[in-house]
Symmetry: C2
Subunit: 205 residues, 2 copies
Amino acid sequence: MTGIRKKPRQQRSRATWDAILEAAAQLFGERGYTGTTTNKVAERAGVSIGSLYQYFPNKEALLLALSERHMEESGATLSAVFQQLEQERPDLETTLTSLIEATVALHRHNPAMHRLLFEQTPRSAALMSRFRRLETLMATAVAGQLTRLGVGGPHPEARALLLVQGVEAQVHGAVLAPPEGLSSETLVEEIKALWLTALRSGHPR
Amino acid sequence: MTGIRKKPRQQRSRATWDAILEAAAQLFGERGYTGTTTNKVAERAGVSIGSLYQYFPNKEALLLALSERHMEESGATLSAVFQQLEQERPDLETTLTSLIEATVALHRHNPAMHRLLFEQTPRSAALMSRFRRLETLMATAVAGQLTRLGVGGPHPEARALLLVQGVEAQVHGAVLAPPEGLSSETLVEEIKALWLTALRSGHPR
DNA sequence: CTGAAATGTGAGATTTACTCGTGTTTGCGT
DNA sequence: ACGCAAACACGAGTAAATCTCACATTTCAG
C-alpha cells in the first residue's frame, strides 16, 4: 500500500514519474481533486495514460504521493525547529512563538497544497493514518518541550496533543480563511497570547 | 446552488425526497461517500434513478442536503445551550463546561455522520461555506459570553473564534480518534482545564 | 370529468477510472 | 557491434459510474 506501483530503475522513468506528479500537483491545485481526471494528468505530463498507471495504481495514489512529499517537507522543517529548541532551550514564550510561527510558515508556504490535502480531498484511511502519524510525532516532541519547561501538567502527552491539534486548526483558519475584519496577523498574535496564558499559568518563570 | 433542484409541492414527493435522503444517509454511513453509487441510493430508497436526479442535481447535492440537516440539528442544540447560558449567567468554569460538553455531545450523537462530513468527503466550496457559517454563528455567541464574563480581551471576536476552532479540533480528535493509552474522557477533562486556565488568568472572579 | 401540472420511470448517452496487448528503448554480456 | 531480455511507453478499449431525456402515471383544481 505504498501508493507506488513500481520504483523507477532508469533515469528516464524517474523523469516521467516526476512529470506525472508535477502535473498532478498543478491540476489538483487548479481544478481540485474530483475536478481532475487521470487522463488530463497524463496529458499535461506529456505521457500516456498507461504510463501513469504503471507508476500509480489509482488516482488516489497520486494524492498519497503528493501528501508524502508535503509531509516529508513539513516534517523536515519541524525537525529543524525542534533541534534548535533542544539546543537553545529557550523560555516558554520563545518556544511557543517558534512552534506557532513554524506552523504559520507551513501553512503560508504552499497554501494550495495545504488546501488540497486538508479541504478538497476525500480523506481516505491511508491519508488519515499518514496525517495522524505526523501529528503524533509532533505531539511527542512538543511533550518533551513542555516537560523541559515544567508546564506539562499531569499528562504531558495529552496536553501536547491538544496543543498540536488546537494550534493547527487555529492557524489553518487564520491563514487560509481569515474572517471579515480580522487580519491573520492579529489572529496569530492572539493565538500566541492564548496558549502562553494557558500554559504558563501557575508556573511563573 | 441550494443543492435542491425542485421543492416538493405534494406530500408524496416529500415522501420520496425523505426516502432518498434517508437511503443516502444509510449508504454513505455504511460504504462511505465514494463507495456509494447514486443508483444504489435510488434502489434502497425504492425510487427510480430519474426521481433522484429530479430533486438532487448531482451526487454532491445529497451530501449537502445531509450536511444541512446535520448542521440544523447542531445549530438547534447549540442555540438551546446559549439560551440557557444567557438566562442563568453562570461563572466561567460552568459556562466553559457547558460549551465543551455540548460539543462532545454533538460528536458522540452521530459519529458516522460526523466522520462522513468531516473526514471521508471531498469538501466542496459549498460545504466549506456552510461550515464556516455555523462556525461564525457560534463564535459570535461565544464572544457574547466571553464579554459578559469579562474575559474577552481586546478582541473578543478573535478569541471566541479561536476557542470555537480549537475546541472543535480537540474534541473531534478526542472523541473520534483517541490516541493509544489516553481515554477520551481524560482528554476532555484536559481540554476543559486548558481553556479554563487560558481564559480566566488575570481575571480572577 | 378533464386537462394541465406535478411526479415518476428507466433505457441509454456520456464521462471517467483503469487494463492489457503491443511497440519501443535501454543496459549488458559476448 | 550485435542480440536479447528487461524496463519503459503507448493508447484504444472495457467496465462502471454519473446524469439526461422522452415518455408514462398520478394528482387536483375548476
